[in-house]
């Protein structure tokens, strides 16, 4: 009995320790199930890399080499005792780059075959036809060619301003606005949750505002009870308000127009908390049309990235209409983006 | 005619000797234009039985319009002379090379060059040259003699060249 209690106690302590220190394992079954795949034998490699004398062609690599015994990867998820080197402000979202610089390299470099312009660097070619107007207008952001320093910049000095869309300003392009963060009238984000729920967030620092990774249980705790009683309903969203949300997500929806996933329409469900942030694991695939399993998955992942990236510190939705937008089903239809 | 050719030939040979670059020949009547074997500019142009005479005095090539393999009237004159020469000099065999300009895809140009070479062959046969003495080969766009990317060059590259290939008996 006593022993049992001890064991139980130890086990519990262990669990707690894991919960605290190893808190990173959220839903991922992280624990290193390294799949063992030996691809190429040394002989093959040796052969392959034979000196490049004309007649010396290496043997084709054929047989996979003997699989190495799966090395148990060092198990201990080292306590994340990392010093917070960069006191990342609670708003880690740097400016997403919906309107990334578009170096000019038309698909058909129509006029002259300007070979030199074909940069050896990854050239994000300009979206041509299917460019959404809204994005086009934001193209002001001239971050061309400055990725590296740019990134650094963003990293160290996370921008405080949100680029939220002014709710009613449908006609206005979504400007990466330099305006100060707007204080939300309602929706006091319950900050302490992250700590309260040890199995949730793999964040070393209590990041009250970082909601993207809050898991479902947390979501419930948060959105459910909290929202229910005082969730304001309000009138349905105006066309402008819907449009603003649409535009906000569009900015982060990156369509691989040459990929098979661009043949797929996916509908993704999600729940938002009162601050407009996506609740934990509430993002889910509801429906899809076209494509095979893999392309559907790919399309879904792209949609999920769009939703999670562009929420920043919450979608800008009228707090007084919370019940209208608590649950959202978003359909991502790439038809107009697709290469014709 | 033949005097003029001679004149050009001499100039051409000088140019060849000077710069050792066949592309500098300017594509007049001079230059063998041959990519394959052939026996070069052997003998003297003044010797009507010589290869040199065939190349320069008779004229070893005919030109074609874009994407065509029809022998032009001018080409017929040249080929009539070739046929006469070949009949008189029965020791020679010939390989007829068909060429195309660069403005075409590789495979198509091979087929087109083959058509041109064959058109010349058939013409010569129709003028009495034994078919057993004539082979054809296509080079497509692989062996231009002119390298500019203009019609003036293309026109000279769209050609069929009759390359004498030595005695019948070897």
């Amino acid at each position: 009995m006593q022993t049992g209690t001890k064991i139980s106690g130890i086990a519990h302590l262990g669990l707690i320790a894991i919960a605290i220190f190893g808190g990173a394992f959220r839903s991922e079954p992280l624990p290193f199930e390294v799949r063992e795949v030996s691809v190429i034998s040394s002989e093959e490699y040796a052969a392959l890399s034979n000196p490049s004398r004309p007649p010396e062609i290496a043997e084709q690599p054929t047989a996979p080499s003997e699989p190495e015994p799966a090395e148990p990867v060092a198990e201990t998820p080292t306590p994340v005792a990392r010093p917070e080197r960069d006191p990342v402000p609670p708003e880690p979202e740097p400016v997403p780059e919906p309107d990334a610089p578009e170096p000019a390299l038309p698909p058909e470099d129509a006029a002259t075959p300007d070979v030199d312009r074909v940069a050896p660097e990854p050239v994000p070619t300009p979206p041509q036809d299917a460019r959404p107007d809204v994005v086009e207008q934001t193209e002001v952001a001239p971050e061309e060619g400055a990725d590296i320093p740019q990134e650094a910049q963003q990293a160290t000095a996370p921008e405080q301003a949100t680029d939220r869309i002014v709710t009613e300003a449908v006609e206005t392009a979504p400007i990466r606005s330099p305006r100060p963060p707007r204080t939300r009238p309602t929706a006091p984000t319950p900050t302490p949750v992250a700590q309260a729920e040890p199995t949730s967030e793999p964040e070393p620092e209590p990041a009250p505002d970082r909601s993207t990774a809050v898991d479902a249980a947390l979501a419930e705790a948060l959105a459910g009870p909290a929202a229910e009683p005082d969730a304001p309903v309000g009138p349905p969203l105006s066309a402008g308000e819907k449009e603003a949300l649409r535009v906000a997500v569009s900015q982060c929806w990156n369509v691989d127009v040459g990929g098979r996933s661009s043949q797929v329409v996916v509908t993704v469900g999600m729940s938002l908390d009162q601050s407009g942030k996506v609740v934990g694991n509430s993002v889910r695939l509801i429906d899809s049309q076209g494509g095979n399993d893999q392309s559907v998955q790919t399309a879904y992942q792209a949609a999920r990235r769009a939703i999670l990236r562009c929420q920043k510190d919450g979608y800008d939705l009228p707090a007084e209409k919370y019940a209208q937008w608590r649950d959202i089903e978003m359909t991502f239809n790439p038809e107009r983006m697709r290469i014709k | 005619m033949s005097f003029l050719n001679k004149f050009i030939t001499v100039g051409a040979l000088l140019a060849l000797a000077a710069c050792n670059d066949p592309s500098q020949l300017g594509g007049g009547a001079g230059g063998s234009g041959s990519a394959g074997g052939g026996i070069g500019a052997a003998g003297s142009v003044s010797d009507p039985t010589s290869v040199a005479y065939f190349q320069q005095a008779v004229g070893d090539r005919v030109l074609f319009a874009v994407d065509q393999s029809t022998i032009t009237p001018q080409g017929q004159t040249t080929l009539d002379a070739q046929a006469n020469w070949l009949i008189r000099n029965g020791d020679y065999t010939a390989v007829i090379e068909g060429h195309a300009d660069e403005k075409g895809t590789r495979e198509y140009n091979l087929a087109l060059g083959a058509r041109r070479a064959n058109a010349v062959r058939e013409y010569l046969v129709s003028r009495g040259v034994s078919g057993t003495r004539l082979r054809t080969v296509t080079y497509g766009k692989e062996r231009p003699i002119e390298i500019c990317s203009e019609e003036s060059c293309y026109a000279r590259n769209r050609r069929a060249v009759t390359v004498l290939a030595g005695g019948l008996t070897g």
């Binding site: 080292t78 819907k242 990156n254 209208q324 959202i328 | 091979l110």
Partner: protein, 439 residues
């Protein structure tokens, strides 16, 4: 349900109109997005010992180059990283990577023992806080580290784009030196990215249009070794070559393997007329597929081996046709302005790439196999001879520049028409043929 009810009630009280309330979830349709490279971070793979440090660094660089080379990804370089990966097994601090807007994160480790190198890696979807796929380990010899890097990159590419990979592949092509009127050609083989070039023939005779076998172990090509164009086959492993088709008085060219690797389709010229034939490699039997006075050439099989697309000028100029693989009635599929040649069926089976000539310009284009949805991807003085990446997503082709100093070199382009980029080769290059993905 309760929520909705509550909403209804609340809505009713507030606005005295029950209809004003939302019925079910808010529905939004997104039809516009952006087209931009996805930012990723690949912090240097963690060396498991000091000896592995340089390998780890090299591997990481090749992985990053593979990904960025697609035009679909953009690397956020190490100097911008907030987080560092010093332990492959440590939990991911997503916040660090979100902060620099890395949407995908690739972590890995490299161990070296003797001449064996072990690479482990994982791919993370940063904003979802989830791993994409699961950890994977490759083992090989240190000499083959580039292939290991390509394999890792193929995995990453696949997990994010949903497409098959293509980095661990090779290209056989014609290496060219010399001016236009004295061009020397020889066969060469290289990694898809231009690394590890090796020469398969010398330049003593013209060689043209090498084509890989379905398994990548053999290469068909046209050689003038005999003084006339004939089809040869070369074993990539030992570089032994032999003549495949050299019938007296004929010329043969434009060979391509059938997907079964047992049959070769090609053009045979006889008496000025070019038609399509097949050659059964086992029996040596030759079968005539077309019999027309027009030019029939540049045949290419559908991936299922049932059909052949080829070009013919039977209509008066070069156009594309599809016919059954055993011959028979051909259906024209190209109807646009200009001339169409060098059709190549995509490995996915859904498209045909071609060269198009129109108004004095050359284009690489793609169309559906029925000829619909034609799209031109490039334009230049002379673009020619597309070949498909093993995943059917990217095309490589040759571009020749204009004028006396004109030179041919290799380019690749995404089938979206984006990401046109040169493929570096030591000399000029033409007639590329992409291998299947290596095993």
């Amino acid at each position: 349900m309760k929520k909705i009810l509550a909403s209804l009630l609340l809505g009713a009280t507030l606005f005295s109109s029950p209809l004003a309330a939302q019925d079910g979830p808010l529905r939004i349709e997104i039809t516009e997005g952006v087209i931009e490279p996805l930012p990723f971070a690949v912090p240097g793979f963690v060396p498991e010992s000091p000896a592995a440090a340089s390998q780890a660094e090299q591997l990481t660089r090749v992985i990053a180059a593979d990904l960025t080379g697609t035009g679909l990804f953009r690397e956020i370089t190490a100097d911008a990283h907030i987080g560092q990966i010093t332990d492959f097994s440590a939990p991911i601090q997503y916040a660090d990577w979100k902060a620099i807007n890395a949407q995908a994160l690739i972590t890995g480790s490299v161990g070296v023992s003797g001449n064996r190198v072990t690479v482990r890696f994982r791919v993370w979807d940063v904003f979802s806080g989830a791993e994409l796929g699961s950890g994977l380990q490759f083992v090989g010899s240190t000499d083959g580290w580039r292939r290991m890097a390509h394999k890792v990159a193929d995995q990453v590419y696949s997990r994010i784009t949903g497409e098959g990979g293509y980095f661990d592949s090779r290209v056989v092509f014609v290496s060219e030196t010399g001016p236009k009127d004295d061009r020397r050609k020889r066969l060469a083989i290289m990694d898809y990215d231009g690394a590890n070039v090796q020469y398969l023939t010398d330049s003593s005779s013209i060689v043209l249009a090498p084509r890989f076998s379905p398994r990548g172990d053999k290469v068909l090509y046209t050689s003038y070794e005999s003084g006339f164009p004939h089809i040869h086959v070369l074993d990539v492993g030992n570089v032994q070559q032999r003549v495949l088709e050299q019938s007296e008085g004929t010329m043969s060219f434009a060979p391509r393997f059938a997907p079964d690797g047992q049959t070769v389709v090609y053009s045979l010229e006889q008496g000025g007329n070019t038609d399509l034939y097949t050659l059964d490699l086992a029996s040596g039997n030759r079968t005539r597929l077309t019999n027309a006075p027009s030019i029939e050439t540049a045949p290419s099989y559908s991936p299922d081996g049932a059909q052949i697309v080829f070009e013919s000028d039977r209509s008066g100029n070069q156009q594309l046709y599809v016919m059954p693989a055993r011959g028979g009635e051909a259906r024209r599929i190209s109807f646009g302005q200009g001339r169409y040649g060098t059709p190549v069926w995509s490995p996915r089976g859904d498209m045909i790439a071609f060269t198009k000539q129109n108004n004095g310009r050359f284009h690489i284009g793609v169309m559906r196999v029925d000829g619909s949805e034609e799209r031109l991807l490039t334009a230049s003085f002379l673009d020619e001879g597309p070949t498909w990446a093993p995943n059917g997503r990217v095309l490589m082709f040759a571009r020749e520049t204009q004028g006396a100093a004109g030179r041919s070199s290799l380019y690749s382009v995404d089938i979206s028409g984006r990401n046109l980029r040169p493929v570096r080769t030591p000399d000029g290059g033409s007639d590329p043929s992409w291998s299947p993905l290596q095993q």
